[in-house]
């Protein structure tokens, strides 16, 4: 990122090729040139990084002075620059010649052929054969150890773009220029290879390399792509904009889009490299019908007719509430909208839910109740404007890597960082203050921080008086919550809590971000309420760099809820009982929507066990594997009369289905996702649906049609026009009324609220303390123990989470070359060295992990990333079945399960050699 903060507001006037321009003082000559739509050659420059000045191909003439490098030289008042002249062409040609003199001339055999910046520069300056006969002195061996990054130093031109990308964009500091002069080369770590240097495989270095010194495997064989399609990543809630390059109908590679508003030309390993799953051989490519306990292949007509017939029968026989739908936060807004329309308008039930239940429902609930909108208040770019960041129960550098990288850059640039997390995450290690609290004690610590704010009068009294209500109640509730009291519960130093509260209050713009460690750790809503209280009490809302925002897990978990795939609300979180919303929906749909609140996901399983629920339609959610208390879920699904599962791969949930419908991946469909900061972005079809599969929206539409209702968006051939779905959705969603595909094409993205077609969208909600609900509500949050506590029998705390290289249960990532990365190979139990010593456990040993509900065996990884007393596992590896261990305690307001808190006992059952 360019540091343009220091620019003197004054402007200066310069001439470029005789044209006068006024530019801000401090502007580089290159930017002044670009401002006039002119250009000069550049090689080492990239607008994502600070100028480096290495290649010297951007030299321009300055009247009366020596030439200067345009990319890094600030304009000088009154100067006159020339971007082209015979002298400059010759100079640039000679410099290019020097670069080429040390470069193998094997263009035809090179993966960069046709997209190489050196090749086009040589053409531009008219360089043919270099005058220096090149006995290629540099021919070091290639490094092919990395599955995604091939290193061929004989082609390196020493521009250091890779090094700077790793430092300034990714923030991993893996690469460096080693050696001196002519022998300068790029090394990873201490020339010890990528893996040992903690490369996170984001691919940014490859993306920046202007030649093929760093290259992505496969691109050489494929040649140039025949199509580039811009779309949005389907892995996490960052919402990276991707350019998908295809050839002959297959994906060649995926690169970050330089225009992406959320990612600014950056991606993580998943979005960039984990795409082979779309072409995987084991995709489901035909509908399956279960007969006599076994699946048989069926035609689409047969399968869809069966689904429609059985749904109708069950509906007629047992009533609408004998049916329930689970929609998918992996799917588009349009598909989620269709699912809830199917539930409400066709089946007549509100029993529709999506997996935000198992992640961020407490966030949406608390934000909605306290401030008036169920989403984060500020935007990603705000981290660069904060001077204090407080991150609670989130590990963004692994779970939301591109946003995590931006947080790191902000911290490296001087922003203070407070981390509340039981684990020694990467950000915890960078933090000014790390509170390693015990899992389940969030509310205690947040209450104590509020206590300190009040006791030490670190409040914004004016903001509290003008913009909030409920202060006295909160004051009374936290009066007893001293840091000493919380320290007992959380097992931390009370002074840390005090220092953190003071640091938060001292910021001119302090921002709180949180993750699943809040919402899945029991009493998540109360933790969120408490953090919102802190922001309100210190006036840290409604301004750049402030706010309270959850970092949302899956790509479209925000959107699935926004568009109404929830049992109690329509889109825009309008209650199913709200008369205005009901009237609007009645008019649009031509039917009376149901009024009773539907079943939430945990209630659905409950109802199935009780025999009240007979049929379910599950879209792209592997609940049998990713929900807590796996045994209970499987039992529920088995007890249904009829289960339909729509999936791209066979999985444990689909195994239980009566009918399996083969859906498509995001690469094969059109639609939109909403990312974690309310950014609505387009998903565009890059490849045709794999033969035999159908786009999910079409399938839903077709089920409705065969049940006798035309949802109204399909053409003759059954294809669904996603933009028409958006039009209806926008009409029924007050905060989305300004959204349309035409506007998304023009702007790239829109952040809701966007209430009318003139509205530019909202980067910061509640500006100026004008809360969407009127006044902000301060909410008292009395302390309660988590549902699960360690005791003598189960003395250790287990907490779960994500790991960088995988996504959820690994359905997609494990079908890609990501598994070639050492760190991505198998599940481990991460345990602190002190604890490991006490139990006689070494890295690689098999350890039996036993909770009050079940047991699993995994290999141990002894690491300081775990804190004493708390062990950690992910849920990416189905065979290790982490979820067998988890309990069914849940948030009192939203039913969000306590994934993060589980008492276990540990025993070594085999040594490393076994």
């Amino acid at each position: 990122m360019l540091d343009r903060n220091k620019i003197d507001p004054a402007t200066v006037t310069v001439k470029v090729d005789g044209i006068s321009v006024e530019v801000a003082n401090g502007t580089t000559v290159l930017d002044a040139i670009k401002g006039l739509n002119k250009s000069v050659p550049t090689l080492c420059y990239s607008d994502r990084m600070k100028p480096y000045g290495a290649c010297r191909t951007c030299l321009v003439e300055v009247e009366g002075r020596k030439p200067v490098a345009a990319c890094h030289t600030p304009v000088m008042d009154g100067a006159s620059y020339r971007t082209a002249s015979p002298f400059l062409t010759k100079l640039r040609r000679n410099i290019t010649e020097l670069i080429v003199s040390d470069h193998p001339l094997e263009c035809l055999d090179c993966s960069a052929n046709g997209r190489c910046e050196l090749q086009s520069l040589a053409q531009q300056v008219g360089l043919r054969t270099p005058r220096y006969e090149s006995p290629r002195t540099h021919n070091p061996p290639k490094d092919d150890s990395h599955p995604f990054v091939k290193l061929e130093m004989s082609k390196c031109i020493g521009c250091a773009r890779c090094v700077r990308a790793c430092d300034e964009v990714q923030g991993s500091f893996v690469l460096q220029m080693s050696g001196r002069g002519y022998d300068t080369k790029v090394i990873a770590g201490n020339d010890t290879g990528f893996e040992a240097a903690n490369c996170v495989s984001c691919g940014q270095c490859v993306f920046e390399c202007p030649v093929a010194a760093l290259a992505e495997p496969g691109t050489r064989e494929a040649g140039l792509p025949d199509q580039v399609v811009n779309t949005t990543c389907s892995y996490c809630g960052v919402g990276c904009s991707l350019d998908v390059k295809t050839k002959d109908g297959r994906v060649v590679n995926i690169e970050p889009s330089k225009r992406g508003s959320a990612n600014r030309g950056h991606t993580c390993v998943k979005g960039r490299f984990a795409h082979q799953f779309a072409h995987s051989d084991d995709r489901l490519t035909t509908p399956l019908i279960k007969e006599g306990g076994k699946f048989r292949e069926a035609s689409w007509d047969e399968a869809l007719d069966l689904v429609a017939r059985r749904f109708k029968e069950i509906h007629d026989q047992h009533g609408p509430d004998s049916m329930a739908l689970i929609s998918s936060s992996r799917c588009t807004n349009e598909e989620n909208y269709l699912m809830q329309k199917l539930a409400r308008a066709v089946m007549g039930t509100n029993s529709i839910d999506n997996c935000s239940r198992v992640c961020h429902s407490p966030s949406a609930f608390a934000l909605g109740e306290a401030l008036g909108t169920g989403a984060g208040t500020n935007s990603f770019q705000d981290v660069h404007l904060s001077d204090v960041l407080m991150i609670v129960g989130a590990n963004p550098t692994e779970a939301h890597p591109v946003f995590g990288a931006r947080i790191k850059q902000a911290v490296l640039a001087g922003c203070k960082l407070i981390v509340l997390d039981p684990r020694n995450t990467e950000l915890a290690r960078m933090a000014d203050l790390h509170i390693p609290l015990r899992p389940g004690s969030n509310v205690a610590v947040i209450n104590a921080m509020q206590h300190v704010l009040i006791a030490e009068d670190l409040l914004d009294h004016d903001f509290i008086a003008r913009c909030s209500e409920g202060f006295e109640e909160v004051k009374a509730t936290v009066a007893e919550c001293t840091p000493e009291w919380a320290a007992e519960i959380a097992h931390v130093d009370p002074e840390l809590i005090r220092a953190a509260a003071r640091m938060y209050a001292a910021g001119k713009a302090s921002q709180i971000l949180w993750g699943l460690g809040v919402t899945e750790a029991g009493h998540g809503s109360n933790t969120a309420f408490g953090m919102i209280n802190m922001a309100v009490m210190t006036g840290n809302l409604g301004r750049p760099g402030t706010g309270t925002s959850p970092i949302r897990g899956q790509n479209n978990v925000q959107g699935a809820s926004d568009v109404g795939a929830l049992p109690n609300v329509f889109s825009d979180y309008r209650s199913v009982k709200d008369p205005v919303a009901r009237a609007e929906h009645r008019e649009a749909w031509g039917v009376e929507p149901p009024t009773n609140t539907g079943l939430r996901i945990p209630d659905m399983f409950e109802a199935a066990h009780e025999g009240k629920l007979k049929a379910m339609y599950i879209l792209a959610e592997d609940v049998a594997q990713s929900d807590p208390n796996t045994t209970f879920v499987v039992g529920a699904l088995e007890s249904l009369d009829f289960l339909v599962v729509q999936e791209i791969f066979m999985n444990p949930t689909a195994e239980l289905a009566d009918v399996v419908l083969p859906g498509t991946t995001f690469l094969e469909k059109d639609g939109t996702f909403v990312n974690s900061d309310r950014r609505i972005q387009r998903v565009r079809r890059a490849i045709q649906p794999v033969p035999g599969t159908r786009v999910d929206a079409e399938i839903v539409h077709e089920v409705a049609r065969r049940m006798g209702v035309d949802l109204g968006f399909a053409a003759e051939d059954g294809t669904v026009d996603a933009s028409k779905v958006m039009d209806e959705l926008a009409r029924l969603t007050p905060k989305w009324r300004g959204v349309s595909y035409a506007r998304l094409e023009a702007h790239g993205f829109l952040q809701w609220p966007c209430p009318d077609p003139e509205h530019p969208g909202t980067d910061i909600v509640h500006r100026g303390g004008e809360f969407l609900r009127g006044k902000a509500r301060l909410t008292a949050t009395p302390w309660q123990e988590p549902g699960e506590l360690p005791d003598d029998e189960y003395p250790w705390m287990l907490t779960t989470g994500r790991q960088l290289f995988h996504y959820n249960v690994g359905t997609m990532t494990r079908r890609t070359d990501i598994v070639k990365l050492h760190k991505a190979k198998e599940e481990t139990l991460r345990i602190h060295p002190g604890d490991a010593r006490q139990l006689g456990i070494h890295t690689g040993d098999n350890v039996k992990v036993q909770s009050r509900r079940g047991e699993v065996t995994v290999r141990a990884e002894v690491t300081r990333a775990a804190n004493k007393g708390t062990v950690f596992m992910t849920f990416h590896f189905p065979e290790s079945r982490t979820n067998l261990l988890i309990g069914d305690a849940a948030d009192e307001f939203t039913g969000c399960p306590e994934y993060k808190v589980c008492a276990v006992r540990l025993a070594r059952v085999g040594s490393a050699e076994a």
Partner: protein, 442 residues
Amino acid sequence: MAKTTSFETERVFTKTWSNPNGHSLAAFKEAGGYKALKKALEMDPAAITDEVIKSKLRGRGGAGFPAGRKWSFVPKTDKPKYICVNADESEPGTFKDRYIMERSAHMLIEGLAIACRAIGAHTAYIYIRGEFGLAERRMQQALDEAYADGILGKKLMGTDYPLDIYVHRGAGAYICGEETALLESIEGKKGQPRLKPPFPAVEGLFACPTIINNVETIAAVGPIIDKGADWWVNLSRTEAEGGTKLVGVSGHVAKPGVYELPNGLTLKQVIYDVAGGMRNPDKPLKAVIPGGSSCPILLPDELDVSFDFDAMKTVGSLMGTGCPTVIEEGTCIVRLLKRVERFYAHESCGQCTPCREGGDWLFKIISRIEEGKGTMEDIDKIESIASKIEGHTICPFGEALAWPARSYLKKFRHEFEEHVTLGRCPHGPIPVAPLALSGVVA
């Protein structure tokens, strides 16, 4: 030890050099040391800078920038400010700073403390070339003495002004003498020059205002404050700059060594009257590199010029570090250039294309010519490459590569052509150097 000459001047830098213990705190104090610091601490900081401006003290690291003016660029901010003394002295042919550190370490400390006071710095670094073992030991010894004596530390000479001085050793890269590479090196990074602007006086060490001065520049500050700018100006015989100068003469002269001379002697006087003329009467003077190996070469008829920053430019060369290298007839200029360019090609930091690639090609092509394998086109390539390097690089190292090549070629082109036409070096094979090591000459 400095030699006495007919150009006897008041000794400033070399005052205590005849005393074997002259480097000790006691000897320094006895000679009036640390009086200037005491005086400076009673002065208004701005007045110190003014006095230095008045003295016409110019930077002695090579570029001759007026020291006081540089100090005046330090912005008034709350940020910490730093001074870094450039003691990397690595330019071939240059030897003067090491003697100051070995023999007058306290003089450097006193000048540094005064300079820190002038710009408001509380921390200073002395960046010493890695190979300078004795200089480093003496410098550290002197600092220890100064701390123990209560001169440095929390209370600079008993005042409320804290000052810490650290020695930082280089690791053998010439480029770390370039001021911004030096800063990178102190910050613990790979020593390579930074883009400018921002200039170090505004954004230097740890992104704070920083002054970088040469050892000799800083060492001169004490005497200037002690005896006044007028006294310093009067020591010199040229308008270009004040004071005396340490001049290290090397090469084929009868009496090589370090001399303290008044500024403003001619180069001819330095070579013939101070350094005793040519060592071998049969081999007259062929050329002079006036101030370190990067400076353009001069012919015998170009030496009747005042050896100062301004006058040297009139003959197309530079004063540089003020340490001339004298070359006798019979020396192969092509071989000399090859040796010089080998050094620079090896020392390029490798950041920018012209220097990284151009330096290596220059060396390869010149080597080829020297070995008798070159062509006439090769000779043109030297000029073509060097002219693309000069003025087009990140740091002035590019000039250090280009100037020798361009000036040797301009003045001795016939020798290059002779190598090509003969197909060998007219001076025969490279002689094996005699093993006898001469001791320290001074």
